[in-house]
Amino acid sequence: MDATFAEMPANEVRLGHALRGGSDAVEEAVGIACGTHPLLPRQPADQDAVDAAESALGVAPDARPVYAYLGDLHPALGTVGLVLERSWLRTLNGVTRCDSGGLIGRRGAFAILTNTETTSTLQALTFSGASLHAWEPAFGTELADSYRDGVTGYVNGEEPDVSAWQDARVKCFHQAVSPRDRRLWTWEARLGAGPAPDDVVALAFSRSAAAVLEDLHRRGLDVPDTVRVLYGSSSSEGAQFHDPAVRSLLAGGA
């Protein structure tokens, strides 16, 4: 069920970051919200692809960024996620119009790109250094032009209308069959440092993760009042990974 919320401007879209699963992730999320546990760059699951993408983007090996997605919790079916305020963008190093690791590693729909074109494509789709300031207007334009419902459509995972796009994502998009992998069009942000506690808007927990948090809370763990805590649930229709409020927050809602 898609969330519906009043149309939000693209410059209010928040960031999403999924923590690694398991019981420890719950404590880690609370630690980040409390400021007792920094969110550090981590070894990616697809290390070869991410290493290659960082190398293509000129990221020094010892300066691995923290990854986040604009308006999306990735992976979408992760158990513990953070919704982060845009104030965290003060540490922004780069933005790419899609998943950089997937692109350079030719994963999924990116597989039709040749090895020789991946690097140039990644660079063309990336805002960094002198072009970094241009990401925000470009993001606003892409959301306004490509989604019938603008920000709402993007945050809900609606497939974009790519007719106005002029980059290599178009042929990847047409090569794949709908419903397509949203990493083709989900904007990735790379940040130089983890968020401060004030940057954390909400902690989103799946049903299983919520059970772990409840157990920790009974044992005395507290979550700052400034952070919203949102639980997934299950019903006779199945599981709902995250409360609908998560998407509303990612879209910039209150």
């Binding site: 069920m1 898609d2 999924a18 690694r20 699963g21 398991g22 019981s23 992730a25 699951a45 697809d46 992976p75 079916l77 992760g78 158990t79 997937g102 590693g105 030719r106 994963r107 999924g108 729909a109 597989a111 794949a176 069959v177 709908s178 419903p179 397509r180 992998d181 990493r183 909400a202 799946s206 049903r207 299983s208 993760a209 919520a210 059970a211 772990v212 948090l213 409840e214 157990d215 809370h217 009974r218 009042d225 919203r228 805590v229 949102l230 639980y231 997934g232 649930s233 299950s234 019903s235 006779s236 229709e237 199945g238 599981a239 709902q240 990974f241 409360d243 409020a245 509303s248």
Partner: protein, 434 residues
């Protein structure tokens, strides 16, 4: 999962329910999502492969494709657990997994909770983690829902925090879970829980919730779950005052065990004495001796009321159980003019709830309190029907008092509640005597 895995074919997957038998040889569950925890039980979405396609099933939002790389990320980062579970040809979607953690099963056994709703022998085992089976969300949820309700009742009836915490490992956000945790918690836990739940409600964008509103919801949950037959509000017409005194005596007798200071030695017990006086008056059809009543009343104050004050159990001046005993005693003395039956009935009804939940009986939870008095009300109704046929103006036959006090059995775990209450009531006295 390699790069060769292709994003799905929408036309095939467009509708629900989905039938997974286009090619029966390769429909297979590849992963349990939502990181199954050995301490929990619940409904998990799953990833199904059909040939080269991967699909997430068991989501409220409907099935959706998932890329091989995306699944690989979920597995590598601990959000999912890889399995290899071929689907039966007749399996139709949507499907999900029922999860049963090993530690959860042990915790259920330790807490003597109701049996888990899935047969382990019909499930697939994952060593050191637990068991799963694949079925439709409707079937899995119905099994979980039934267990939650049954276990909620067990937690409330037995005032078991251990069982209440098990509910939280299944559905932490359910009203039943919160109600069970609230009622079985200490004062500090209750206050902390109410604040936490109010905050979760606010965080989820629901209306601003006050403590009072949450308490109403707790009682509404009890009202929804405890569907019990209650006798008519009016008891059958009783023949004469001594039937009233007999009925009051039975109320006192039901509530005597938790407050009897000397259950092994009736000759020393003021409670046993009071009940004997009321019974004899009812059988004789004559008021009890005033001096004997007065000395028993003083002994009750000394043996029970003092302990109650020392134990500081609640804001009530007397335990309701003591009121029930005193009412029977005064009825014996003041009958036939004033049989004190109404006071005895009311005290018995409140008294049962007080024995089970001594610290919160002052709270306005009418559905919960009605649940605890239901069995006693039926027992009284049963007694009253007997008396309406067999008692007379002159007195009640002695055989009336040989009838079972609790025709349907006492309240659940009554002996445990009595022992717990007695322990608290008389512990201060025991320690001062030592």
């Amino acid at each position: 999962m390699g790069d060769s895995i292709r994003v799905g074919l929408s036309s095939y997957w467009a509708g629900r329910p989905t039938r997974f038998r286009r090619d029966d040889t390769f429909a297979c569950v590849r992963a349990l999502l939502d990181s199954p925890d050995t301490r929990g039980m619940g409904l998990l979405p799953i990833v199904i492969s059909l040939g080269t396609e991967l699909r997430v099933s068991g989501l409220v939002s409907g099935d959706r494709p998932i890329a091989g790389q995306e699944l690989a990320t979920l597995l590598a980062e601990g959000h999912a657990h890889a399995i290899e579970h071929p689907l039966a040809p007749e399996a139709t979607g949507p499907l999900c997994a029922a999860w049963l953690g090993s530690a959860f099963v042990r915790a259920c056994e330790d807490a003597d909770a109701p049996e888990v709703p899935f047969e382990k022998s019909e499930m697939t085992r994952i060593p050191r983690l637990g068991w799963y089976l694949v079925d439709s969300p409707a079937v899995v949820f119905a099994a979980l829902d039934g267990w939650l309700r049954k276990t909620f009742v067990a937690a409330i009836d037995r005032r078991s925090r251990e069982i209440a915490e098990l509910l939280s490992w299944v559905e932490p956000n359910r009203d039943e879970t919160r109600t069970a945790l609230y009622l079985t918690g200490t004062k500090d836990q209750r206050e902390r829980d109410l604040k936490w739940w109010a905050r979760l409600e606010r965080d989820a964008g629901r209306a601003d919730v006050t403590d009072e509103a949450l308490r109403h919801r707790i009682d509404a949950t009890c009202s929804r779950i405890f569907l019990e037959w209650r006798p008519p509000m009016t008891t059958p017409a009783l023949p004469g005052p001594w039937a009233h005194v007999a009925l009051a005596e039975r109320c006192a007798e039901r509530l005597a065990p938790p407050i009897d200071p000397f259950p092994e030695d009736p000759s020393r017990s003021s409670v046993a004495q009071a009940i004997r006086i009321a019974r004899e008056a009812a059988i004789r059809g004559k008021p009890a001796d005033r001096d004997e009543v007065e000395s028993t009343r003083v002994a009750l104050l000394d043996q029970v009321h003092r302990s109650w004050q020392d134990a500081q159990i609640s804001s009530q001046i007397h335990p309701h159980a003591l009121h029930a005993v005193e009412s029977a005693l005064f009825g014996a003395e003041r009958g036939p003019a004033d049989t004190h039956l109404d006071q005895a009935l009311l005290s018995m009804q409140h008294g049962i709830a007080e024995i089970v939940y001594p610290d919160i009986t002052w709270q306005p939870l009418p559905a919960l309190w009605a649940h605890f008095r239901a069995r006693a009300d039926r027992a009284v109704y049963n007694d009253a029907q007997w008396l309406s046929r067999w008692a007379s103006n002159e007195g009640v036959t002695a055989s009336f008092f040989e009838r079972p006090l609790w025709p349907e059995g006492p309240p659940v775990a009554w002996e445990d509640h009595v022992a717990r209450f007695r322990n608290r009531l008389f512990s201060a006295r025991s320690s001062s005597e030592h």
